[in-house]
């Protein structure tokens, strides 16, 4: 047994410090000057496209067959073109020639079809919801055969879960062990769950991008990310909270970029609920919300207060002419009185001895959700509605939907998971209900309008259908919109050409360049 002397202790400590220093010095030594450093809130759980949260699409390592531009219009991705036949029951996507995966193997129809089949088997992928019968490699592309007409298939194929991976990416069990894609960047190093490093792929078929390397680092705390942004430890930082944005605004050499997302923060209402089934109660709840105040206090931007369900970023769907949702507590109380609720003990409304008490379920993954819940709680208390807020796991909402126990759910609904919002809207208002859509509410007019839209009517007619949908939602409030959603990023002045993709499909790194180099 060694002596416990001062020298011994010191030697031991130095050894520990050196050992731990040695284990990471290799990466740290690399120069940062040619690396674009991106930080974001979410972690990378998996290499599998469906569970990867789109990281590899955003980093432009893998490509989907179809891509979309900033306005959500479809454009070629890996596929150069596509055409439908049999009345949109069959689709053929043409693949470019002489394109190679990052491992040097050629991009063949077989390889791409295999990737797509894997995606179709993954229940979480939107492709699994499409009535796909067969995916077959054909001469220079891939052909989909569907059970019924499906005009939105190209839009579905913009989703990150449908990206094409090289055959070598899969192991014998079909698990993805390596991300080998076709994009302009190839993976250099992945350290799940927090960091990914990619470098320019020399064999990229398009123009060589200006940024040579990209390193993504997940940092769960918004405060940490804000500090990274202002202290030049990251070039692009996603998902800052209002306080962090203020900090960035005040700092030199870094600016805030933002874009409205096709996402709405909304209250999902259980329309089968004895209290909430009454449209007057729903309207009262909606009238109680001071949306502008909440948007200002929680999101620091009063304009984000939702005046209707679908945000202006969904240009064809948003109805500027619609009467906006109001804040009017008195009217709300009148509506409640009309519905038979009278003020009871402690200010809580009651009817036949039952107090007007509701539970709101939400989750902390998006920090504004519990914050808004707190504000909603206070707003509803004003009109005598007692609201319990349960901050739990995001899955509690679909689970509560399934067993009907959910009363109110607060979450952020993305209306363009695939490039065409129609897919999401249709899902949201499905007559049988939807996990992240309506619960216990159906409307014949709404159903017809959506069905009509799927048949790709003329533009004018389509607009009328969309208007009807918007009006119905505004009147019936099966979902109570609260606020729209703006995504933001702090960007250093080191880079030029930064644009936020509202659909979050890609970070458009190929468009970036170092400031002062061109």
């Amino acid at each position: 047994m060694g002596r416990f002397t001062r020298t011994g202790v010191t030697t031991g400590l130095v050894a520990v410090l050196m050992a731990s220093a040695a284990c990471g010095s290799g990466e740290a030594a690399r120069s940062d000057s040619d690396t674009l450093r991106i930080a974001g809130p979410f972690e990378v759980h998996s290499l599998d496209p469906a569970s990867s949260d789109g990281f590899f699409t955003r980093l432009q390592v893998v490509e989907t067959l179809v891509s979309s531009d900033l306005r959500g219009e479809l454009m070629p991705g890996l596929a150069t073109s596509w055409e439908d036949s049999r009345g949109t029951r069959s689709w053929t996507f043409q693949l470019p020639e002489d394109v190679r995966f990052h491992d040097g193997t050629p991009v063949t129809p077989d390889a791409v079809a295999a990737s797509l089949k894997a995606a179709a088997d993954e229940a979480a992928s939107p492709l699994a919801d499409a009535p796909v019968e067969r995916i077959t490699p054909v001469a220079s592309g891939v052909r989909f055969d569907l059970a019924e007409p499906y005009p939105t298939l190209p839009a579905v194929l913009t989703h990150y879960s449908t990206a094409a991976l090289a055959p070598a990416s899969y192991d014998d069990n079909g698990e993805v062990t390596e991300v080998i894609g076709t994009g302009p960047y190839e993976v250099e190093r992945v350290e799940l769950p927090a960091s990914i490093e990619v470098a320019r792929f020399d064999g990229w078929r398009g123009e060589q991008p200006a940024i040579e390397r990209v390193r993504f680092q997940a940092a769960g705390r918004a405060e940490s990310r804000a500090l990274m942004a202002v202290s030049d430890q990251a070039d692009v930082v996603f998902g800052l909270e209002p306080a962090g944005q203020q900090r960035v605004d005040a700092a030199d050499g870094v600016r805030m970029e933002s874009a409205l997302q096709p996402r709405t923060l909304l209250l999902k209402v259980n329309n089968d609920h004895p209290i909430l089934g009454d449209v007057r109660v729903r309207q009262a709840l909606s009238l109680a919300l001071d949306r502008e105040g909440m948007a200002e206090a929680v999101l620091r931007e009063a304009e984000l207060a939702a005046t209707q369900l679908l945000p202006p970023s969904l240009r064809t769907w948003h109805q500027p002419g619609l009467d906006p949702l109001d804040h009017d507590p008195d009217a709300a109380r009148d509506l409640l009185a009309e519905a038979g609720w009278t003020p009871g003990d402690g200010g809580t409304m009651q009817r036949d001895g039952t107090p007007l008490r509701l539970t709101l379920t939400t989750y902390p993954d998006r920090p504004e959700l519990p914050a808004l819940a707190t504000a909603i709680q206070a707003a509803l208390a004003e009109i005598g509605v007692e609201l319990e807020v349960d901050v739990t796991n995001s899955s509690a909402i679909p689970a509560g939907h399934e067993d009907g126990s959910l009363e109110l759910g607060l979450f952020a609904r993305h209306f363009a998971l695939v490039a065409d919002p129609l897919v999401s809207v249709a899902e949201t208002f499905a007559p049988e209900g939807d996990d992240w859509g309506v619960l216990g509410w159906r409307d014949a007019e709404m159903t017809t309008a959506i069905e009509e839209l799927f048949t790709q009517p003329a533009a004018e007619q389509a607009a009328a259908h969309r208007a009807r949908i918007a009006e119905t939602v505004q009147r019936e409030l099966p979902l109570i919109p609260v606020a729209w959603y703006r995504m933001n990023a702090a960007v250093t002045d080191r880079v030029d050409g930064f644009v936020l993709d509202p659909l979050e499909r890609t970070w458009r790194i190929t468009d970036l360049s170092w400031a002062g180099q061109n």
């Binding site: 047994m1 416990f4 002397t5 284990c23 998996s46 569970s51 405060e223 995001s394």
Partner: protein, 323 residues
């Protein structure tokens, strides 16, 4: 090492090994049992973990349930896990589908690095402050450490970490605030933990050293003509070690378990982080393996402490009074 000492070491190892097996069993079963009792459908939780809040729905949950066999009976699932455990097969994470061994091993490495460096720093800072404070009890340094302890105890570690980031990373630009894997990104989280811990270590070191320097044998050592430094090195520190090593053991165990906040603030990947996610997502294999690793680590630390004390202090643990 004499024969009796070898026997003592063997006894410690045997007792701790027994404890390890017992703890492993209890922890596994307990985790499993409690997770079964948790509200919420595990399949939904897992699906939410895998696919994110945009994609979790009844379909994906059903697919998860079918894939993972979550509809098997509880006994069957527990039995399967224990059998696999005996074969040292920890299975795959329900969320990431990666082998649990790889996943937990990765987090374990992070935790060990962080804990070792933090503890090392804390011992250096706290030990030095403690020894210096002990030189003149009631002096300014002594009062400083007392105030330090109170402040650090009242300050949540994330605020402390934030202060350090602001000073060392943002204003001075010395160290990266966030990250994992490089030695420089280890410094700030380790320092945060070390600063929090060093106050206590300083306090305990001071008390111990003061007590020991007042002891008969240290006074005798002085009158033998030994210099102060020699007295400190040969007598005071060694005897202080007998008191401090078990204390440090307890602190190391707390560090290993309780650094989740610091991990989260500095985006450092460690077991605390893994544990939180595993509970949140109902990732039972990862949860069980993490809990198991943590429990065994604590047992390992206790073993090391036992052995160290055995090496430092030859006196028998149970002193019988002979007269």
């Amino acid at each position: 090492m004499s024969g009796t000492q070898r026997q003592l070491v063997a006894a410690v190892l045997l007792r701790r090994a027994g404890q390890a097996v017992g703890v492993a069993l209890v922890v596994s079963v307990l985790c499993f049992a409690v997770v079964r009792q948790l509200p919420g459908d595990a399949a939904y939780r897992i699906a939410a973990g895998r696919y994110g809040d945009d994609l979790v729905d009844a379909d994906s949950a059903a697919a998860v349930r079918a894939e993972l066999g979550l509809d098997r009976s509880a006994w069957q699932q527990l039995g399967d896990w224990l059998v696999d455990l005996l074969r040292l097969d920890f299975g795959r994470s329900l969320v990431t589908s990666r082998p649990v061994v790889a996943e937990v091993g990765y987090y374990l490495l992070g935790t060990l690095q962080l804990t070792a460096v933090a503890l090392g720093l804390a011992i250096v800072i706290g030990g030095l402050a403690g020894v210096l404070a002990a030189r003149c009890p009631g002096g300014w340094l002594d009062h400083m450490t007392t105030a330090w302890v109170a402040l650090v105890r009242a300050l949540p570690p994330f605020l402390l970490g934030l202060l350090l980031i602001l000073v060392l990373s943002v204003h001075l630009g010395l160290l990266p605030a966030v990250g994992h894997g490089s030695s420089s990104s280890l410094v700030l989280p380790a320092l945060t933990l070390a600063v929090g811990l060093s106050g206590l270590i300083a306090r305990v070191t001071r008390d111990t050293v003061v007590e020991i320097t007042r002891s008969e044998h240290v006074r005798f050592a002085r009158t033998k003509g030994l210099t102060e430094r020699l007295v400190l090195a040969r007598h005071a520190l060694r005897n202080a070690g007998v008191v401090l090593v078990p204390y440090l053991g307890v602190q190391a165990a707390i560090l290993i378990e309780g650094v989740v906040v610091v991990e989260s603030l500095f985006a450092w990947q460690g077991l605390g982080h893994a544990l939180v996610h595993a509970v949140f997502w109902r990732d039972v294999p990862v949860l069980q393996a993490t809990a198991l690793v943590l429990a065994l680590l604590v047992v390992a630390i206790n073993t090391v402490v036992d052995l160290a004390v055995l090496g430092l202090d030859p006196r028998p643990r149970k002193r019988e009074v002979l007269a």
